[in-house]
Subunit: 254 residues, 2 copies
């Protein structure tokens, strides 16, 4: 029950540019993202797609992206400011070996560029028709991001499941999406084990078991692993606001 | 006792510009600030000084600013981006009647420009040698800011105390600094009444009794005025973390 909500609004910039490019490695793409944000470009979206996801997109949507990690970046500001930021963004990306650099400022062309990112889940599902996707999200310090994604990719490959990785790399948050057959206990067990491996690696890097999807039921046991004896304090706060335990019972706080 | 601290760092932009200008009214300065931020300029500082503060600065530091409200703005980004943002900032300021527009990007010249703002409190104190300054801070929704500052200025003038107003206007936070004689009960009573008038006006506008200085002891009674029956929940949360009441006892939560 939400009875009142105060929002802090961020302005919609006068001018917006979307840029995307292929990178030789996940690490190079993550370094470029950090450099662009670090240079003071007003980045509003920053999305990484791994090579598997790009290959799935090419198969699903008939695109012909080079099959390598891709970075999509959006930034806004004044007209002249954005033009300058675009030059800097391209230079910083190419310093990390970017190729196939493209950019658009027209709203329709921008939406067209983003559609590849928006199709990523559907494209991954099409890798194994009839399967369902399970997504786990974690976040790690930005300095650990490239290594965490490489490790998650290894875990995915070793799990025997198919899937791709996409990341909101500006804040160290990434999603591992993998396909499973919900009627096959072995497939579910593999997915649970993979989820646990990705979460444990994120925690070992000083990250968190969920970047934005939340604890819900699915990650209840990881909350204690991540926060230890703080969880008793969380329970105390929950009791202050919900003494009868009627608000989302059993979720978020074990 | 702080045992662990996680910081989210924002990058230091490659290029930084400071701009300042005189405005015909507090309202015009507030509108210009909102327009500059709204255009997507990456504003990192945005400070308003009222005409009284400017006059005090001229007397204190031998400057010759036109005696009117002043806006100081700092923003950063890539070199070309900042150059573009400076053009837009000047246009938006002049749309609101700005005059005496100046800007600097050299670090020493920037520090020189900011020194006027940093001298504001000393300059105000010099209006009545031997007096002490009391500062109250409040914050209101940005849409209410100009009216709140005008109202605070009126309250200050009617209080019989001398003082000036400066504002971190990008987020609706402003400070009213007024001079009093700590050995004179009447002077203290005037200051308390003025503080209460400024706070009540901020609350009536949907604002908060303190934007950044905190509740401490001085604003304990305003917390209940602002938050009503939520304060009992704050007490509950405090008890969860501090069952023995040894952490900052009696402060922040009445």
């Amino acid at each position: 029950v939400i009875t009142e909500l105060t929002l802090r609004l961020h302005p919609i910039p006068d001018h917006i540019v979307v840029a995307r490019a292929a990178f030789p490695s996940v690490e190079a793409a993550c370094r470029a993202a950090a450099a662009i944000i670090g240079a003071g470009v007003l980045v509003t979206r920053c999305e990484l797609l791994d090579a598997t996801t790009i290959a799935a997109l090419n198969a699903y949507a008939g695109t012909s992206f080079p099959v390598s990690p891709y970075l999509f970046v959006e930034f806004g500001g004044t007209e002249a400011g954005v033009a300058g930021d675009l030059v800097a963004t391209r230079e910083l990306a190419e310093d990390e070996g970017a190729s196939a650099f493209e950019s658009e400022s027209d709203p329709t062309a921008r939406a067209q560029m983003w559609s590849a990112r928006h199709n990523a889940l559907h494209a991954s599902l099409a890798l194994a028709p009839g399967s369902k996707a399970m997504t786990t999200d974690v976040a790690v310090p930005v300095s650990e991001l490239a290594a965490a994604i490489e490790q998650a990719r290894r875990a995915l490959d070793e799990s025997g499941l198919r899937g791709g990785i996409v990341g909101h790399v500006g804040d160290g948050n990434f999603h591992v999406a993998f396909l499973l057959d919900p009627d096959d206990a072995e497939s579910i067990a593999k997915a649970d084990a993979l989820n646990e491996r990705v979460v444990d690696d994120a925690l070992a890097r000083g990250g968190t078991c969920t970047g934005e999807h939340g604890i819900g039921f699915g990650k209840l046991r990881y909350l204690e692993r991540e926060h230890g004896d703080l969880v008793e304090l969380y329970r105390g706060v929950k009791r202050v606001f919900d003494p009868n335990g009627i608000m989302n019972p059993g979720k978020a706080v074990p």
